[in-house]
């Protein structure tokens, strides 16, 4: 159940042109300077931004194919997403946030809430069920956001700078939790980050994107050993 994408899309003043492949159970970290187009990659996979050229497939289903004009709407793709500032719905409680996915997909309210509660229990945050996003700490919110993404039983998982808004201590804790969780998730995962520690702890493969194109790609150790650009060098430099 792998994720394959060949994407070409215009982005502001440059063009994003690259291809990625993530196998089931594998985590790809996408790194790059700000404005490189990293988030656009995720938005294309999610279907929020349609491709201008190329093709995206997940397992057997074609999500976006410009040549055959095939396009699956975001709401039918079943890909989970977690964002940097959690983006929990402010007018819903933590429980209802997590239950939102199943409800949107047609499940009854009670059933959705049961699913949600089970997920919150799994992450040991069920005591936060009735709190509202404004009443949660950064780390708590990110955990709820992850639970929300998982509630739809996604086939793949995308994380856009999930730890960036957290303070150093919380970041380390949540990163470890994320690492242990990811080891149980079966589908492919893509994590966008600018933090090399995230890449080291969470990723198997690394993709460096600068200005819309791939600068380097490979297993994390290989990239660290032979950086292909000044940016990559600066990123992992102090490790050599």
């Amino acid at each position: 159940m792998s994720l394959d994408a060949v994407m070409g899309v215009k982005r502001g003043d440059f063009r994003l042109d690259l291809s990625i492949h993530v196998s089931a159970g594998e985590t790809l970290a996408v790194l790059g300077p700000n404005g490189a187009g990293k988030s656009t990659i995720l938005r294309c996979i999610l279907g929020i931004v349609p491709l201008e050229s190329g093709r995206i497939t997940l397992a057997d289903s074609v999500l976006d194919d410009v040549d055959t004009d095939a396009f699956v709407e975001p709401e039918r793709r079943r890909i989970g997403a977690v964002f940097q500032d959690h983006l929990l719905f402010r007018h819903l409680s933590a429980l209802d946030n997590v239950a939102f996915g199943p409800r949107a997909r047609g499940e009854k309210k009670e059933h959705s809430r049961l699913v949600a509660r089970a997920l919150l229990e799994r992450f040991e945050i069920d005591h936060l069920a009735d709190r509202f996003p404004s009443q949660l700490s950064g780390g708590e919110a990110q955990r709820v956001a992850l639970a929300r993404a998982l509630a739809i039983e996604p086939r793949a998982l995308l994380l856009d700078e999930p730890l960036a808004a957290l303070d150093v201590t919380t970041r380390r804790i949540v990163r470890d939790e994320l690492a242990s969780f990811l080891s149980t998730f079966e589908g492919p995962r893509v994590i966008v980050t600018h933090d090399p520690d995230d890449a080291r702890r969470l990723a198997d493969q690394v993709l460096i994107v600068e200005h819309g194109s791939v600068v380097q790609h490979g297993a994390i150790l290989d990239v660290m050993r032979s950086p292909a650009s000044p940016y990559v060098q600066a990123l992992f430099g102090d490790d050599r």
């Binding site: 279907g47 079943r78 997403a81 964002f83 983006l87 719905f89 007018h91 949107a104 009443q135 929300r148």
Partner: protein
């Protein structure tokens, strides 16, 4: 007083100006209450015309607000989300009736939707629909002047709304309409309520466009503002009473607006 308390107290200059503003708004009403012939209160209210006018005002202003919401919210959405040619022109047109004197609006409606109007003639000749001298005409006049308030408020809210919330909702399986209904609209609810109240208040107080376009007939087109104005010419005492009735009703509605409807729900101001 020491520096400690002075720091946390509101600055005196601001308080004085604010007090001036409160006086500016309160004194006219005080004058009204002082001159009102309270002994005539029961007679005026019992007399049918006053109740008729009030009931008509309430009905038409609510209908006008509904019209404003049904077509105004989509317009606000389009103006906020879609970048189309001459968007500024469209926005200016939609809010023009807010800056024009209401009578001008009435005149415009008159010559476009009157029986011989540019478009009204077809409404009349083909469908037998006549707007002047009807309650429908009152609703049209009120909606015409009230809608800009709703459109501007809601457009601003749509613009400020982080569209990424909709993206998240869609990734979770929500269709565009479901995301709009369950995520976007509830998030901008304070703005919608504020816009609704502004539009309703404007519709309730509408006079110039109404009397020019719809006319003045008790029970059909004579709203409270019209009844008050007409009464002022012959029986100022009655006009005062009518004014007070309208003030009490409006004040009641506005005071009933809870703070929490106008602010964000579940927002912690000071942790």
């Amino acid at each position: 007083m020491n520096r400690r308390t002075r720091t946390t107290r509101p600055p005196i200059g601001i308080v004085v100006l604010a007090a001036l503003a409160v006086a500016f708004f309160t004194l006219p009403f005080a004058g009204l209450l002082w001159r009102a012939p309270w002994s005539d209160l029961v007679d005026v209210i019992r007399e049918g015309a006053a109740r008729q006018a009030l009931w008509l005002s309430i009905q038409t202003s609510i209908l006008a607000t509904l019209v404003a919401v049904v077509i105004g919210v989509p317009l606000a959405w389009v103006l906020a989300r879609i970048d189309f040619p001459f968007r500024n022109v469209v926005r200016a047109l939609a809010t023009l009736s807010m800056v024009l004197p209401p009578v001008v609006g009435g005149v415009a409606l008159f010559f476009s939707f009157g029986r011989r109007g540019l478009f009204g003639q077809y409404l009349y000749d083909w469908f037998g629909i006549r707007l002047p001298f009807t309650t429908a005409g009152v609703v049209v006049a009120q909606a015409f002047v009230a809608m800009p308030f709703l459109v501007l408020t809601v457009e601003s809210a749509f613009r400020q709304f982080d569209i990424r919330y909709e993206d998240v909702a869609r990734s979770l399986g929500a269709s565009r309409w479901y995301a709009f209904r369950r995520i976007t609209l509830p998030s901008i609810r304070p703005a919608i309520i504020a816009g609704l109240v502004l539009a309703w208040a404007r519709a309730l107080g509408e006079f110039g466009a109404t009397i020019t376009f719809a006319g003045n007939l008790p029970g059909t087109t004579q709203t409270m503002p019209l009844a008050t104005y007409i009464a002022l010419e012959s029986d100022p005492g009655a006009a005062l009473i009518l004014s007070i009735v309208l003030i009490v009703v409006s004040f009641g509605v506005l005071i009933g607006l809870r703070d929490r409807w106008l602010g964000n729900p579940h927002e912690v101001i000071r942790p």
